[in-house]
């Protein structure tokens, strides 16, 4: 789950970079970069949830 979240984060980064290359208008470029950041946020959430399950499950 953690690895999956990190992969989603990486795809968010490439989305942000693609927005820089594909769009020249400031508004659409900013919107798509923010979409990339949002995808990174989703990936981070998944990774953190994976860590929480592991940390509590181990009951260290």
């Amino acid at each position: 789950m953690k690895a999956f979240g990190l992969l989603v984060m990486a795809s968010g980064f490439f989305l942000a970079i693609a927005a820089l290359v594909l769009y020249s208008a400031p508004a659409s470029r900013a919107a798509f970069v923010l979409c990339g950041v949002a995808v990174e946020g989703l990936g981070l959430t998944v990774a953190v949830r994976g860590h929480m399950a592991a940390a509590r499950g181990e009951g260290r």
Binding site: K2, L6, L7, M9, A10, S11, G12, F13, F14, A16, I17, L20, V21, P26, R29, A30, V33, L34, G36, V37, E40, G43, L44, A47, V48, H51, M52, A54, A55, R56, E58, G59, R60
Partner: protein, 422 residues
């Protein structure tokens, strides 16, 4: 690039010679926030990390950080992604003054990067693992990010290639040092797991308070001196600020830290009835970290606001990470260096008066979160297969000092029995 005059060179060199005090301050904070039975190992680890990063950076990392760089042509734009400096610091003595100062700055910065995850892994991270992590950061990850941000890499060229302000701005190392250290700390905590007894299967997490508030608070004062040197020298080296702008950068650093500690003091006073010393220390450091991004580019009042907000979010995030997200971070580094660094970088875009600057800062943050964090996690995950990060349960029970060093930091202390191991 503006040429550096003799007086600017001398000033910058003097400032950089003060910046190891930031390293000493963070080492004291890391040690004080850990447990007394791991104090000697924690401080020795900081010393070892400074040594190991200097060697690894000189032998490998410095080669990939500067120079003209390898350039990829993508969509008609140049993407400078890797430096090509001479091997083994060749030609350093005859390099220009800017190149010499830049390399000295990077030598000192890389030590702090590796100290940050060491603090987060306190009380369970083996000394060998801490040194191995430092090698990976100094030889691979730091050179990549520092080249992208400081040495003409693609992030610093966002302004030229895409019209985004002046490109990604990071005068004092909020991204290259602090946020990189913060994401490395997160990766270490994820891989090493929490300390034994920290998160029981049922009930709330167990409080494991730091053992020496005096170390922590004195470390904060030392860190201020180092940070002043770093931010002012960084403004000169990376932002090419004129000499007349340097006092403002110093004032901004102090104001940001002051605003942050005042906010944390008030928040902890409101929440707990009394101010919390370790959280106030974290707030102070968070203010310094946030100032690293923006001290050279914002007004003093904006710096105060940046610090104030950093001081508000720090105690709340420390609590959120521990209680809600089960992240065991004894030094609070993920919040102090990662989150406050992120906020500082964003604030530099918000308060800097350049069109497109905010988007440049967001792209830089997206790179650190979306590319550098997964890369660091992957490298650390592989490293953990070769050099296990976590000490065995017996070592954790008796403490890292006895287990790894054979003697404690405070031999005359009576160590109380730990209830969590019954």
């Amino acid at each position: 690039m503006m040429p550096i005059t003799d007086s600017a060179f001398a000033l910058c060199l003097a400032l950089l010679l003060f910046s190891p005090l930031a390293i000493a301050g963070v080492a004291l904070v890391n040690t004080g926030l850990g447990r007394c039975r791991s104090a000697a190992q924690a401080l020795l680890g900081n010393l070892a990390i400074v040594a190991v990063t200097a060697i690894a950076f000189a032998l490998v990392g410095a080669t990939f950080i500067g120079g003209m760089g390898h350039v990829l042509q993508l969509a008609g734009k140049p993407w400078n992604w890797l430096g090509t400096a001479p091997y083994l610091l060749g030609g350093l003595g005859t390099a220009g003054p800017h190149a010499q100062l830049a390399l000295l700055f990077e030598f000192l910065a890389v030590a702090l990067v590796a100290q940050i995850p060491w603090g987060s892994g306190a009380d369970r991270l083996r000394l060998t693992a801490g040194c191995a992590i430092a090698v990976v950061l100094a030889a691979v990850v730091f050179p990549l990010t520092a080249h992208w941000i400081w040495s003409g890499g693609w992030l610093s060229q966002l302004g030229v290639n895409f019209g985004l302000g002046a490109g990604f701005l990071d005068g004092g190392g909020a991204a290259t040092v602090q946020m990189l250290g913060g994401v490395s700390a997160l990766a270490v905590v994820w891989i090493a797991g929490p300390r034994k007894g920290k998160f029981p299967k049922e009930g709330l997490s167990t409080a494991l308070p730091g053992h020496n508030a005096v170390y922590v608070l004195f470390g904060c004062l030392l860190a201020l001196v180092g940070w002043l040197g770093w931010n002012v020298a960084g403004a000169l080296i990376w932002l090419h600020a004129p000499l007349s702008a340097l006092p403002v950068a110093a004032v901004n650093t102090l104001l940001s830290a002051s605003g942050a500690v005042a906010a944390t003091f008030a928040i902890t006073r409101l929440r707990f009835g009394k101010p919390d010393a370790s959280l106030c220390a974290n707030g102070w450091l968070a203010g310094l970290v946030a100032s690293s991004a923006c001290a050279g580019v914002v007004t003093p009042i904006a710096a105060l606001c940046v610090g104030f907000i950093a001081g508000i979010i720090t105690p709340l995030l420390v609590e959120l990470f521990e209680l809600a997200l089960s992240i065991d971070d004894p030094s609070g580094a993920i919040t102090v260096h990662g989150a406050a660094g992120l906020w500082g970088l964003l604030a530099a875009g918000l308060f800097a008066p350049l069109p497109g600057q905010l988007l440049a800062q967001i792209v830089g943050i997206a790179t650190l979160l979306g590319l550098v964090l997964p890369l660091v996690y992957l490298l650390f995950w592989l490293l953990n297969r070769v050099v296990p990060f976590r000490v065995d349960s017996d070592g954790e029970r008796i403490g890292m000092d006895l287990h790894e060093l054979g003697g404690g930091a405070y031999p005359e202390f009576v160590i109380h029995r730990d209830e969590s191991y019954r």
